[in-house]
Amino acid sequence: MKLELRGITKTFGALVANDHIDLTVEPGEIHCLLGENGAGKSTLMNVLYGLLQADSGEILLDDVVQRFKGPGEAMKAGIGMVHQHFMLIPVFTVAENVMLGHEPTRFAGALDLAAARERVREISARFGFDVDPDALVEDLPVGVQQRVEIIKALSRDAKVLVFDEPTAVLTPQETDELMAIMRQLRDAGTAIVFITHKLREVREVADRITVIRLGKVVGEASPTASNEELATLMVGRDVDLLVDREPAKPGAPRLVVDGLTVADHTGQLVVNDISFEVRAGEIIGVAGVQGNGQTELTEALVGLRHVLRGRVHLDGEDITKHKVRAVLDAGVGYIPEDRSADGLVKQFTIAENLMLDRSNGAPFVRFGALQRGTLARFAEATVEEFDIRTPSIAEQAGRLSGGNQQKVVVARELSREIRLLIASQPTRGVDVGSIEFIHKRIVEARDSGVAVLVVSTELEEIQALSDRIIVMYRGRIVGIVPGDASRETLGLMMAGEVPAGAAGEAA
């Protein structure tokens, strides 16, 4: 089925999220929609899926104009969507999830589970998915859960499949498998829209690439274009994707973690007997698929989580049982992975956010009173230094773009006297230009002698920054490898396998 979007325009108040966007996706084609966060990709797809109504423009399927009032109608017309966050019910089986919403029934409304099972098996077999219809979804690995989403879409005879940032939660190997599946679907005649901001994936799988910036189509690119060319199109100016950095000159061990063990609220060990050290003047990257204990590790290090066993020393001082305040005061800078939830108070001004973790004393507080003059001068200087794009320091932090919000957090932590920087997903949801800037600042911190621990699920980021790399899997350290370890090695380790010398076949 051919999908055509003509002149789609969608505004939210004064903001034009989509500005006369034209897009044609032929059957048997993978069409990549490339753009930064906030470029309007998701808005466009929500219009297509009937979740939003366009202000103007039309959607055509096989040259017939469609009007979708909701996702139900879009599904009926043959549009399927695989969301970034799976819409599955964990305690249901695969078959039950697949039939959810259009349950086949027999006499008197009895569910026809057998039919659903058969449907899963049939689609599974057609594409070699290897999914057991009776498995509980919660027991399945993330990559397989995603296949269930695909099966769900296909079981409704989707002829146009939209993948919205599908690789965010996958290991490199799972990503490769997904790419293979996408190619297979394409060869079977499905029209595929693939939304992403990861350049490597685009070049690997796309037949055509449309780049969106600020709600407008800014150009088409061929899959043979270089990363720099694509990034330049996306950002609208030249971008330097590689961070220039000298080899590290590591000093004495600064952060020493010994046998750290953390349990979640159910008693499950989420960080299991982890030991490593970070030396002054080096960047250690923590790689791993999301949800393998990295979050809990960083939270335990800064005192936000109860440590079950093990010790954490900072320059010889035992900080294991320190409260957050004491950890920060000991010279630890912390960039939390979710800036909206943990890093910023969105209703606070930029200035207030810049002193958020320094509200306990000089220079911003004297005798219990806020020093507003000092804060204003500091904020003006910091906004300037960190290139935070804002009309004023009195602007609410929540009104900034994601990249600028993140810069506020980074600026706050790097403008303190710190000995150790813990940066969790420092560039998640941040535009390419800001990524470049934040990476540079992190490397500068390292060069000034700060020990840095970077946690990221983006391999590119880990490889760009790390002097050494720790790979975590299910709460344990799989191994510690040099910063120039290959993608394949890291990928295998992220899946929990210790590569025997050379990189093996994907799991």
Partner: protein, 415 residues
């Protein structure tokens, strides 16, 4: 680097589980109800008074009588409606602001001083409730905290032999401490066990009420000697708040305490590091915790300060409003009215001052309307309730039916 414009991104919903979104929705609604702008408060008051006017007209027997022959002489009905409403509001004005039937200014202004007298405990109590709103808490236990403040403070006031200047000071301090203690129980339970402060404070209202009632009925505790009624002896002359503008007015120096409390609470919230922590915890407790702010400590301090302000309101009642001895009804519903005052004042100290005066006027004028025009005093209560409804309903309805905030997506940077 060229001066490229940053992407004006629509608010990107970050990774969120459905439950988090769910919780966020209600938090957001609560925040909007308690912290919205001043304009909404004004509109709510105007709308509520409009509905109040309709009720005044509808309950007037003269209007009902003329409505019987509406179709033969509609003018009579409209005339009656006009008379009813304008009469009521004239009486209200004369009862709450300025009585122009009096010969001189000194007696004409008396109604306004009555308004301020009624407003005095409302302002203090409203500040207490508003303070918890700013810290993301909801103190519904004003009644219990006021009663404890009245009872313990009142006990010092009638039983302790202290000199003139010192006596009221000690009463105020002890009363505030009693209120702080009572609210602090809820604060500690919230911080260390997660017991919700709304439920705990409501239950402490009952505990406080029956505790005070028991003390008032027990000879040797608070009960007046030689009496069988659950009522205390009158306050000692040395303890009573002196009148502020001379003996012809009821306004007492307790009003100055309320004004001082407005300034102090404003300073704490807007200019102190403690207030910074309150606001951070109120708006985003997780970010506050991540930034090293001890949210448990803040919860307890906020509840104690709130209770102290309600204790102050309780002391103002026994030393200013009713100095002839108090019963277990000394709180006069102020602990609950304070919630409305704090909501209407948008949890801002100056807003609470204005809302407190308005509600003081409702009380003073309400009695005058009843006396002069026979308007049911309950209509004033209805108007107060409608204010809350108009303030709270839009965000609540949005949360219940998952409607988007109007213009919410417009929040993009224009750098």
């Amino acid at each position: 680097m060229t001066a490229t414009m940053p992407a004006p991104s629509p608010e990107q919903p970050t990774a969120q589980t459905p439950e988090e979104a769910q919780r966020g929705r209600w938090r957001q609604a609560l925040r909007e109800i308690t912290l919205g702008g001043p304009l909404i408060g004004l509109i709510a008051v105007v709308l509520a008074m409009l509905v109040g006017s309709i009720l005044i007209a509808a309950t007037d027997p003269k209007v009902a009588a003329t409505a019987g022959y509406f179709f033969s002489r509609p003018g009579d009905t409209f005339g009656a409606i006009w008379e009813s409403i304008s009469g009521a509001y004239t009486a209200f004005f004369k009862g709450a602001i300025y009585n122009f039937s009096r010969p001189d200014f000194a007696s004409g202004i008396k109604p306004f001083t009555e308004t301020l007298t009624f407003a005095t405990p409302l302002i203090a109590a409203g500040l207490g409730v508003g303070l918890t709103f700013r810290a993301g808490l909801f103190n519904i236990g004003g009644r219990g905290q006021m009663l404890l403040g009245s009872a313990i403070g009142g006990w010092i006031a009638f039983a302790a032999p202290l000199p003139v200047g010192l006596h009221p000071v000690v009463v105020v301090i002890v009363g505030m401490a009693a209120g702080a203690f009572w609210a602090g129980i809820a604060g500690v339970l919230k911080a260390y066990t997660g017991a919700h402060e709304v439920i705990v404070t409501i239950m402490l209202n009952y505990v406080g009420y029956y505790l005070v009632f028991w003390m008032l009925s027990t000879p040797g505790l608070l009960q007046a000697p030689g009496s069988n009624n659950p009522k205390s002896p009158p306050m000692a002359e040395t303890a009573v708040f002196p009148p502020l503008l001379g003996d012809q007015y009821n306004l007492h120096v307790g009003f100055l305490l309320s004004i001082a409390a407005v300034v102090v609470v404003w300073w704490i919230l807007e200019r102190s590091s403690l207030g910074f922590a309150f606001r951070a915890v109120g708006l985003n407790p997780r970010a506050a915790q991540t930034a090293g702010i001890n949210t448990k400590r803040i919860t307890i301090i906020a509840m104690c300060m709130s209770g102290a302000l309600l204790g102050l309101a309780g002391v103002q009642q026994v030393l200013g409003t009713v100095t002839t001895g108090f019963s277990a009804g000394i709180d006069a519903g102020i602990g609950f009215d304070a919630i409305t005052v704090a909501l209407l004042g948008r949890s801002n100290p100056w807003g609470i001052l204005a809302a407190g005066v308005l509600f003081g006027a409702f009380k003073a004028g309400g009695y005058a309307m009843q006396a002069a025009e026979g308007v049911q005093i309950d209509i004033v209560t209805v108007v107060q309730a409608l204010i809350v409804l108009f303030l709270a309903a839009p965000p609540l309805i949005r949360a219940m039916f998952r409607l988007p905030e109007p213009g919410a997506k417009r929040k993009a940077v224009k750098a």
